[in-house]
């Protein structure tokens, strides 16, 4: 029955080569913790992706309640945390996941760096990875404002003041981020929401796709 269903789909969209590309490859001995326990350092990248998936899923559920508007943003978060069933856990996963993803990214980066795994021919994938790191920091910065509590508001104000001090383009940069040259308010919140939920995730997905395609093309770096 399952085989028939598979054949039916395969006949129409030729699925076998697709899942072959994704799943059918060899795992060399030196990255397999079953053979060398120290190979657990190779898990960091995969676990980073795992936390990213947690962030995407919990974030999707958060937007079911969150209202990006200065009157209701804080109230919706407070309601989610105190009234909604398991709301505190979903928000907790997103909040702590944001920190854990930075930790895992750092560990993954250090593993690649100290093993010299970025050397020819993997330079491009290193650059893609560092860009992913920057996008993550951007997600952290924009997401910090969204609960619209005091620490969010004042931290963002400081961040925007720092952006303003950049020579030549500082004021334009601040206006671009905040939606207004002077006010950190309603426009800032909707802008940060859009950047956090649409712009940066779009960039992240593109970069992650490039990261994974490059890994599959080049294979994992050999043992030291």
């Amino acid at each position: 029955m399952l085989q028939k269903l598979y054949d039916w789909i395969d006949e129409r969209i030729d699925i076998t080569p697709i899942w072959r590309d994704i799943a059918d490859h060899e795992v060399p001995e030196h990255v397999n913790p079953a053979h060398h326990f120290s190979a657990f350092v190779y898990c960091f990248g995969g676990l980073t992706f795992f936390v990213v998936v947690i962030q995407i899923l919990s974030g999707m559920f958060l937007t079911m309640y969150y209202v990006p508007d200065i009157e209701n943003a804080w109230k919706s978060v407070y309601y989610l945390q105190t009234e909604v069933a398991h709301g505190q856990i979903v928000r907790g996963m997103h909040h702590w996941g944001a920190s854990v993803v930075i930790v895992m990214l750092l560990l993954h980066t250090l593993r690649v760096f100290f093993q010299g795994a970025y050397k020819k021919p993997r330079e491009l994938n290193w650059i893609v990875g560092v860009l992913i790191f920057f996008v993550m920091l951007g997600l952290g910065f924009t997401g910090y404002l969204l609960p619209w509590d005091n620490k969010a508001y004042f931290a963002t104000q400081v961040g925007l003041e720092i952006a303003e001090q950049v020579p030549f383009i500082g004021e334009q940069l601040k206006t671009l981020l905040a939606g207004d040259a002077n006010i950190v308010g309603a426009q800032t919140l909707t802008r940060f929401f859009a950047i956090h939920v649409f712009f940066l995730p779009a960039a992240l997905f593109g970069l992650l796709a490039a990261h994974f395609i490059l890994i599959r093309r080049q294979g994992i770096s050999g043992p030291l």
Partner: protein, 258 residues
């Protein structure tokens, strides 16, 4: 990819009608103890993921995600702090060489050099050797950078009393008033007081809230009949029994709100 004459397709599509083998390749020919990713290795990864998820959920359950009071832009006394992974950049701006006239050092030059070097690491460290002792400069720079980031983060975080901060900025919960519409005094309240004092005793433009008042039942009854402040007398129209019920109702709601 298979191509050439004699290919068969499904209908008029470009999908090959010929079946390809679905048995995974035999990786045992590769050097070392190589394993197929699907399904052997994936199962192990799955287990690592499960253990990680349990740990992560324990963290989530043990620590409530923090939420301070609603943003108040007029609060001039609030000391802003970024999230922990930005603390090192924030702390950097407190040094003399990275603030004031030299602020561009702190916000552009130093972070730009550090992150730029990180981005371009493969081209700066472009020798063929991968082992740590073959790349002392690259590793040395990275360790130096790491130590500075950890030091700056520590310097910034160690001077903050996180618990006192969280305590001082706790959100004030909105008062949850339960109005017992079954109470015998509710109907009296509805007829005599609600127009001005509101459906939940919250007050309105014409009258103050009745929550948190310090009057006894007798005083409430007296005010209802004779008025107080801007409230004229004679608004209450009802029997003495109803007056008693009304006073009892207002006190009951006040007790439930505490």
């Amino acid at each position: 990819m298979h191509k050439g004459k004699g290919m068969k397709f499904v209908g008029d599509s470009r999908i090959s009608a010929e079946k390809t083998s679905q048995i995974p390749k035999d990786y045992s020919e590769y050097p070392g103890r190589t394993e197929a990713f699907w399904p052997n290795f994936l199962l192990k990864e799955w287990l690592v993921g499960a253990v990680f998820l349990v740990g992560f959920l324990c963290l989530t359950l043990a620590h409530t995600p923090p939420l301070e009071g609603m943003a108040d832009p007029t609060d001039a006394a609030y000391i802003p702090l970024p999230d922990w992974y930005f603390l090192f950049l924030y702390e950097l701006l407190k040094y003399e060489f990275a603030s004031g006239d030299w602020v561009l050092m702190g916000i552009l030059v130093m972070p730009g050099l550090a992150f730029g070097a990180l981005l371009l690491a493969p081209f700066l460290d472009n020798g063929p050797g991968r082992r740590p002792h073959q790349r002392p400069i690259a590793n040395g720079m990275m360790i130096l950078g790491l130590i500075s980031v950890i030091w700056l983060t520590y310097e910034s975080a160690a001077h903050v009393d996180w618990e006192a901060r969280a305590e001082a900025n706790k959100p004030i919960p909105e008062s949850s008033v339960t109005i017992d519409t079954e109470h015998e005094g509710y109907a009296v309240y509805e007829n005599n007081c609600m127009t001005c004092h509101g459906g939940e005793l919250e007050g309105g433009p014409a009258a103050p809230t009745l929550l948190g008042i310090e009057y006894s039942a007798e005083e409430i009854a007296d005010i209802a009949v004779n008025g107080i402040g801007g409230m004229p007398g004679g608004i209450f129209t009802g029997s003495d029994e109803e007056l008693e019920q009304l006073a009892d109702f207002i006190i009951t709601v006040n007790e439930s709100a505490e």
